[in-house]
């Protein structure tokens, strides 16, 4: 790997002075090897309270049945499936970052993939809890599995998208978990070799005896690449199948052929928004500004505006096809999103998902951390409302006006949803305390080629074109972790 020099025009992926392999390790492992600070404790207590609320609300649901929710005979699916699709969608960005960007050799993924993958796993856990709790009789949750049974082996119906979903979500969860854990092994070994006593024992078990020899690394890289290769179509298939839960039905507003690509784009969109929400806070609290730089933030904002616009095009096609189909019921469903009693939900959906992200066309906004964070929250809200609009607004005014109804959530609905956010953050906060939140081995890999100090060295040695160097220094203006004064003398 004789170090070749990367073009000066590319922005650095690691900023800061005197970054060595040891310093990367120290910085990343700081939260793991030290006592947590107050910010972590406050966050953890709030999140754990949310998780307790979730536990209580779900237990209440199990005890009393689905009647505890606000469902009625017209709106038979509401916040439960909204929450499920929302969480699964959020999970997709993690796989996208870890797998798709690996295949495309995007080096900026190296410092964000670990936390994004962790986010995937926790989001899918939250989604799975919704599936189980909406079943009504969760102790029969094994029924969608093709097991021999007392009915003379009446097998499950493999023509049903709900059965596909069972296979898709469980495969997705287990493959993501394996991908994440294999990537963690070298970093767990780092913690192991720096720790003593009981901590060393625990991490020793978790590290599977990793040594970092030549052959291990070679196999590790092969495995990572192939896992990325199979995870990429997997992630697309998962949300395609989730969309088919709706698209193969006969309900206007659901039976839309554009659903699979539209849902996949929406999933990536909402997932990146959640990654942005988490990482902007994490980098600040854990002091990782040198590894998760403005380039990462800006790149993610670019993906948000791209996928948000794809979702916008999908919305427009839906409207066009509803009009073009000439089917009255179909047309009504889409008009109803603006003129019906849920007009405000429609406004949240279209406003937060299509209109607001367009602000990211401006570089000033893309590189502003506070605005990026607020917009990421806006997208999260918008994507929740998208699922709400698709699910509830297609049901609440059905074919028979006498059965038209509204959906009013009960305290249990609200507690399950708010609580699931608590579960998610509890898991995430525990993760950043016990495991490295940045893939150290992969960040070490780009230190010699893509760091600010390597580029500074090139400039000092006069190996770069002057105009290009000027462009590069200018691009660093937006970085909160770079001191411009250092560049004046060069």
């Amino acid at each position: 790997m004789s170090s070749h020099n990367e073009s000066i025009l590319r922005e650095p992926l690691i900023t800061g002075k005197d970054i060595t392999y040891a310093k990367i390790t120290d910085d990343v492992l700081w939260p793991v090897e030290n006592k947590p600070n107050r910010a972590w404790w406050i966050g953890f207590i709030v999140a754990a309270m949310g998780a307790c609320l979730w536990l209580f609300a779900v237990s209440y649901t199990f005890w009393n049945g689905i009647g505890a929710w606000g469902l009625n005979k017209t709106v038979g699916w509401a916040w439960d499936i909204t929450g499920f699709v929302w969480w699964v969608g959020i999970g997709h960005a993690g796989t996208l970052i870890s797998a798709v960007l690996l295949l495309f050799r995007q080096k900026w993924r190296n410092s964000i993939n670990r936390s994004a993958e962790a986010m995937t796993i926790f989001a899918v856990i939250c989604a799975a809890t919704y599936v189980v709790s909406h079943m009504g009789r969760p102790w029969l949750a094994y029924w969608p599995l093709p097991l021999p049974n007392q009915f003379g082996s009446l097998w499950v119906n493999f023509n049903s998208p709900l059965v596909w979903d069972v296979f898709a979500i469980s495969t997705y969860f287990s493959v993501s978990l394996v991908f994440w854990y294999v990537g963690l092994l070298p970093d767990i070994a780092t913690i192991r070799d720096r720790a003593t006593g009981l901590k060393r024992r625990i991490y020793s078990i978790l590290s599977f005896g990793w040594t970092g020899s030549v052959k291990t690394w070679q196999r590790f890289e092969t495995v990572s690449l192939i896992l990325a290769g199979v995870a990429t179509p997997l992630v697309l298939s998962v949300h395609t199948i989730v969309s088919m839960d709706f698209a193969t039905s006969l309900i206007p507003g659901w039976h839309t052929t554009i659903f699979p690509p539209y849902f996949v784009a929406g999933a990536i969109f909402s997932g990146f928004a959640m990654v942005q929400t988490l990482l902007l806070v994490t980098r600040k609290v854990l002091g990782l500004e040198n590894y998760i730089t403005m380039f990462h933030i800006e790149s993610m904002n670019k993906i948000i505006v791209l996928t948000g616009s794809i979702v916008g095009v999908a919305y427009l096609s839906e409207f066009f096809i509803a009009w073009y189909s000439g089917v009255e019921g179909e047309q009504y469903t889409f008009l109803h999103r603006f003129t019906g009693p849920y007009w405000w939900a429609g406004c949240f959906m279209y406003g937060c998902n299509v209109v607001m992200p367009q602000l990211f066309w401006f570089k000033k906004i893309r590189t502003n951390i506070a605005i990026s964070w607020c917009l990421s929250i806006v997208v999260n809200i918008g994507m929740w409302f998208e699922r709400f609009v698709i699910i509830v607004l297609s049901l609440n005014r059905d074919y028979l006006p006498s059965s038209w109804a509204m959906f009013y959530p009960t305290w249990v609905d609200i507690s399950v949803f708010v609580g699931s956010i608590g579960v998610f953050f509890t898991l995430f906060l525990l993760f950043i305390r016990v495991l490295p939140s940045v893939a150290m081995a992969e960040v070490r890999l780009i230190l010699k080629s893509s760091s600010e100090q390597a580029k500074k060295k090139l400039m000092k040695e006069g190996k770069v074109n002057e105009a290009e160097a000027e462009y590069y220094v200018e691009s660093l203006n937006a970085y909160d972790s770079v001191e411009q004064a250092d560049y004046v003398k060069i």
């Binding site: 596909w164 394996v178 005896g209 070679q218 199979v230």
Partner: protein, 178 residues
């Protein structure tokens, strides 16, 4: 014969370490293994490590998954208990594709990772066989078997010349054993 079992050259920079391997090999000194905190590209060729065959394993496992998935659905819906659902055909291939695909991915991922763990002897609770504790943090370590009759002094000099910042003469193989 001294008690020294392994000579370790600790490098701070991966390029210096690669240089060190070249120097040793030019002097016909064989390298036992190299431990690094990150993957080093191109080192396999230098040390003559053969390419990994895990991709073949992945393919075979994937195909097994495909056959399992398709075969299972075919058996259950077409052979064992064909159901009349609105007069539609029982053998509806397009409907079989999603689960067949999911099982392909599942078998491929789990089979390959299991093979990786098996071949590399990785499993929970395995005692780590580490020669130098900093090799997982910030040191790039070349290990040379000291009992192969090489001139230890010469090895030291070559490693130093290449830029090793520390040279260790270990009298036991794995420092991680307590």
């Amino acid at each position: 014969m001294s008690d020294i079992k392994y000579i370790l050259g600790l490098f701070e920079d991966p390029d210096d370490m690669m240089n060190g391997i070249d120097k040793l090999q030019d002097n016909d000194i064989s390298v036992y293994d190299v431990y690094t905190p990150m993957p080093i590209h191109g080192i396999e060729d230098k040390l003559g490590v053969k390419r990994s065959r895990l991709d073949i394993v992945a393919f075979i496992c994937g195909i097994t998954g495909t056959c399992t998935g398709f075969g299972m659905i075919y058996f259950m819906l077409v052979m064992d208990w064909p159901m009349n659902v609105g007069g539609k055909p029982n053998f509806a291939i397009p409907d079989f594709i999603p689960i067949t695909f999911e099982l392909t991915v599942l078998f491929c991922a789990f089979g390959m990772v299991a093979a990786f763990f098996y071949r590399t002897h990785l499993f929970p609770g395995r005692a780590p066989r580490v020669m130098e504790l900093r090799a997982t943090t910030d040191r790039f370590v070349i290990a040379i078997d000291a009992n192969k009759g090489f001139d230890n002094q010469k090895i030291d000099n070559l490693l130093k010349e290449a830029g090793a910042i520390e040279i260790k003469h270990n009298d036991r193989k794995y420092v991680s054993y307590e």
